[in-house]
């Protein structure tokens, strides 16, 4: 552990990254790829003489899209770098060394994407009427770059779940062109276009000003694009998940349901099915040219899309379980080989950046440092996935026994890295933490009926 360890109290690291990343995915896929593609499609229809209203509709969407993608989308994208760099420098640092070139090329595509979007936006009012096809070329260039940057990033995300032969062979080609690369590209791009079509559908239903017939045509197009793209998304998703190892897939129910709902696993397929159905209904309302129905269904459908995107990203991030980079690094940024070495060498000598606090006993400081290094990436103290709650009621030697078998007891937990003595130090710290200000057992305060 060469770098300072930073964790987010309360929310926890995972939730913090998720909040930023899900917002980014929604904007980068749904708006930057999906909705802007719809704008370009509308502009193309206008440019090829299918009616001036297409151009008006496209223009009305473009302004808010430019503001959102450049002010929030790009910043949350950079935010993923900042947050992961702060919370998991060992992980992101390893990834960036391995995937420098895809990321560097993606950066060039990203820059080109922004330049083209700004050009498209600033040229629209100047040459939109006089040279619509030139404008269209700029728009198509933008869509190409946006899709390209989506493709480039998929290889890296895929590696984090299915590194294939890389742990043994360590060849870049094995790492980047891994089994989930292609299906993930399809899934993300088609998913983005579906979401974009739904945004365009809702936008048209609520804001379109013009003839009823024109609005109906626009709604129909949005509905059809959604249905087509959604079918591809589902197919891409099916191939994607078929390539994820079974040992990871089996965690998906818990990753979504968490401890709170893990005993009602049948709810999940039901809820997902209902959400999917509502999306299809919203699109069918568009195909059937029913503006009022589109208005009613559009907004809940978009809200459900937020949920579905969050669910997919949660599953993808969670199911790889104890690993940040399977075959190389555990989720707590400790390399697999380092855990083995730590049995004899210990971890404490490496934990250089421990904050001194006059109130803490030395052993407690060490216990905290070991907790931060080993567990803090998933567990907080007093917040999300609270460690005090997890071990409440267990005896001290019980906690010490549990920390010795974490990786088999819970298949997605990392093993403890450190010596036996260090583990006892940490267990003692956690035990005292969980039992500090301990109250009498709940039964004493309130009779609980079984």
């Amino acid at each position: 552990m060469n770098f300072p360890i930073l964790h987010i109290p309360g929310l926890g690291d995972g939730m913090t990254i998720a909040l930023d990343a899900v917002l980014h995915v929604l904007i980068s896929h749904g708006l930057a790829i999906g909705a802007v593609t719809m704008v370009v499609l509308f502009q193309a229809l206008g440019a090829f003489g299918r009616g001036a209203f297409w151009t008006r509709l496209g223009r009305s969407m473009l302004g808010p899209l430019v503001v959102t993608t450049t002010s929030v989308g790009a910043v949350t994208g950079v935010g993923i770098w900042f947050i992961t760099g702060g919370l998991a420098p060992g992980g992101i640092g390893a990834l960036i060394h391995l995937f420098f070139w895809p990321w560097f090329i993606e950066w060039i595509a990203f820059t080109a994407e922004v330049v083209l979007l700004l050009t498209y936006y600033s040229l629209w009012d100047r040459i939109g009427d006089t040279r619509p096809r030139l404008l269209l070329a700029v728009g198509c260039g933008y869509v190409f770059m946006a899709v390209l940057s989506g493709i480039l990033i998929s290889g890296i995300l895929g590696f984090m779940l299915t590194p294939d032969g890389w742990p043994e062979g360590q060849a870049f080609v094995q790492a980047y062109f891994n089994p989930t690369f292609v299906p993930q590209c399809v899934l993300r791009i088609a998913g983005g276009i579906s979401l974009g079509a739904l945004v365009a559908l809702t936008w048209t239903a609520w804001t379109f000003q013009g003839a009823m017939e024109e609005r109906a045509r626009a709604l129909r197009l949005c509905g059809l694009v959604f249905l087509g793209a959604a079918a591809v998304t589902v197919a891409g998703g099916a191939v994607y998940f078929s390539r994820v190892p079974q040992t990871y897939l089996t965690h998906w129910v818990f990753s979504v349901a968490t401890s709170a709902f893990s005993q009602q696993p049948e709810l999940l397929p039901l809820l997902n099915g209902a959400a999917g159905l509502l999306l299809v209904l919203a699109a069918l309302a568009g195909v059937a040219r029913r503006p009022v129905l589109c208005r009613i269904l559009g907004i809940p459908a978009l809200v459900l899309c937020v949920g579905l995107v969050a669910e997919f990203e949660r599953v993808r991030e969670f199911v790889r379980g104890p690993y940040l980079l399977p075959g190389y690094l555990y989720a707590n940024q400790i390399p697999l080989v380092r855990t083995l070495a730590a049995v004899d060498e210990g971890m404490l000598p490496e934990l250089r950046w421990v904050r001194e606090n006059a109130d803490d006993a030395l052993a407690s400081r060490s216990g905290r440092a070991l907790f931060d290094a080993n567990c803090g990436v998933c567990h907080t103290i007093g917040g999300v996935n609270d460690i005090k709650q997890r071990i409440a009621g267990r005896t001290l030697e019980g906690v010490n026994a549990i920390t010795s078998i974490t990786q088999t007891m819970v298949p997605f937990m990392t093993p403890f890295s450190g010596t036996e003595q260090e583990r006892l130090t940490m267990s003692t710290y956690l035990y005292s933490l969980a039992n500090k200000d301990a109250r009498p057992a709940p039964q004493l305060r309130k009779e609980k009926k079984p």
């Binding site: 300072p4 929030v72 947050i83 702060g86 742990p167 043994e168 390399p335 005896t395």
Partner: protein, 520 residues
């Protein structure tokens, strides 16, 4: 199988190329950052100027200035990713350490930028129509925006002072005079540079047909350039390491160019009728890039000077450790592959991973992990338990013992585990047939056992306060032999004490009785 490598040791390009790429990409990023900051400052300043002096006609020009912020900030943000990539590869140790030590302030950059960008977008929207609202958004946006370079300069100046890292790590960002002074001047220098370059940008692109504007911007640039000189002197003096000859040469070129710039403006002052002649435009176009490149080169050389040693040291330490760790690679990969092929979706696997370490392969509680437990792991082979109750124990664990709870497995997996327990140990079977129980044992139960276990085997009110609480004998029974052992020996670590002084027949009867209380 290849030997284990520390990924931090692999470089995508030779070192000098990485330094060149860093210089170029950071230069691009910084240029747009300065233009963005300068534009926001100019926008707010001239907005206030027009509003307070009652020149509403000027606001349309101000609106154009602020509108350019959208593109400039977009480019500033995306161009920032390039140098971020390179610095994370080239100065991994220093960068991640300094930003990690800066902690939450470093992460605050993201919400600050979102607030700043959205506020400035709102500020520029129909500027001047609702001046109070615009003032609010403008001030909020600029304040958030100007906080960001304060964080960046703080983190980067800490990065260039490796001797401070361990102190900051153990005691927090305590005030170190040298660092704070350097940080302050560096921050002010960035703001000054933003005023110069932002001013020049709008001089060329927004005020070509507006001589009066151009004159104002010219004065703005002059004041900013003078400010840079004033701040630059203490900034140079507060650099931690002595400047290398290359850095010294670069800074000399930069200072000379700034002087030429200032001199040019001064010489122009009397010609009020033609404040921005073509000559001065050419002069600006030549001098500004020289100043920019010179200052950027100085920065890079100062950084390289401060971090070269740290970098080499960190890399050689990593290389040494990688050799040692490589010995563990075969074992690590074997364990990884074994785990990859273990699917935790069936009772058998879950038993082996989650139960067996304590309860043992044959369920008797003799697993290796249970050896040091004060409350021994239960002998599962002697339990006869109702399925719902068993599920409840899996969901709650047994507080007061080491038995954890297993909500990490969804219901289907726990049901499968219960099936496995049943097939291994007949755990869910009906209790043994009833046998007659003597009166002495019944009396002992009522007077002694029932205190905790309850008259009918349900846990008494007192029993519920115990940690661990006794099991609910109306739903869980023990094989008589196991019951007899517990009654005779007690259950270590609990209040169940040994009753070996009771006559053997009474103990046998009590064991039988406790097994007959099960109702479900």
């Amino acid at each position: 199988m290849k030997p284990w490598t520390d990924l931090f040791l692999t470089l995508p390009l030779p070192e000098h190329w990485l330094r060149i790429v860093l210089f170029v990409t950071f230069g691009l990023h910084l240029l747009f950052v300065l233009l963005m900051l300068g534009t926001a400052m100019i926008g707010l300043y001239f907005f206030l100027h027009a509003w307070l002096l009652g020149e509403p006609g000027q606001q349309s020009w101000n609106g154009k200035v602020v509108a350019s912020h959208l593109g400039l900030k977009s480019l500033a943000v995306v161009l920032g990713v390039g140098p971020l990539l390179v610095i994370q590869v080239y100065y991994s140790e220093a960068f991640f350490t300094a930003t990690g030590l800066f902690g939450y302030a470093w992460l605050a950059v993201i919400p600050l930028l979102i607030v700043a960008f959205l506020s400035i977008d709102a500020f520029g929207h129909k500027l001047g129509t609702r001046p109070r609202a615009h003032l609010l958004f403008g001030v909020l946006g600029l304040a958030a925006l100007l906080t960001v370079p304060a964080i960046f300069t703080g983190a980067l100046s800490l990065m260039e002072r490796p001797d401070l890292w361990s102190g900051v790590g153990s005691r927090g960002l305590a005030a170190d005079g040298g660092h704070v002074a350097h940080w302050l001047f560096r921050y002010l220098h960035v703001l000054g540079a933003a005023m110069v370059f932002g001013g020049a940008f709008h001089l060329f692109f927004s005020s070509r047909n507006n001589p009066e504007r151009a004159a104002r911007l010219g004065r703005w640039i002059l004041v900013a350039a003078l400010f840079q000189v004033v701040v630059g002197i203490p900034l140079l003096a507060s650099v931690a390491a002595p400047l290398s000859p290359a850095a010294l040469a670069a800074v000399t070129v930069g200072v000379a160019a700034v002087m030429a710039l200032i001199w040019g403006f001064r010489a122009q002052e009397p010609e009020a009728s033609q404040p921005q002649g073509p000559l001065s435009a050419v002069r600006l176009l030549v001098l500004l890039p020289v100043i920019f490149a010179a200052m950027l080169a100085t920065r890079q050389w100062v950084q390289d000077g401060a971090l070269g040693g740290v970098r080499a040291e960190a890399l050689s330490a990593r290389a040494r450790q990688a050799v040692l760790l490589s010995a563990h690679q075969p074992q690590a990969l074997a364990a990884f592959k074994a785990k990859l092929h273990t699917v935790y979706d069936n009772g058998k696997t879950i038993y082996e991973g989650s139960c067996q370490p304590c309860h043992g392969e044959n369920g008797t509680g003799n697993g290796a992990t249970a050896r040091r437990l004060l409350v021994p792991a239960e002998d599962l082979s002697a339990l006869r338990i109702d399925r719902t109750y068993a599920h409840k124990i899996l969901l709650l664990g047994v507080p007061g013992s080491a038995m954890p709870y297993f909500t990490v497995f969804d219901r289907r997996k726990l049901e499968s585990l219960l099936d496995e327990l049943d097939s291994r140990f007949s755990m869910l079977a009906a209790p043994v047939a009833k046998s007659p129980v003597g009166g002495e044992a019944r009396q002992a139960w009522n007077t002694t056992c029932a205190t905790c276990h309850g008259q009918e085997g349900e846990v008494s009110a007192f029993g519920k306060t115990l940690q661990p609480a006794p099991p609910d004998l109306t739903r869980l029974a023990l094989e008589p032999a196991r019951g007899l052992t517990i009654i005779t020996e007690g259950y270590p670590g609990t209040v169940m004490q040994p009753y070996r002084n009771l006559p053997e027949q009474v103990r046998t009867d009590l064991a039988a009785l406790s097994g007959q209380l099960r109702k479900r």
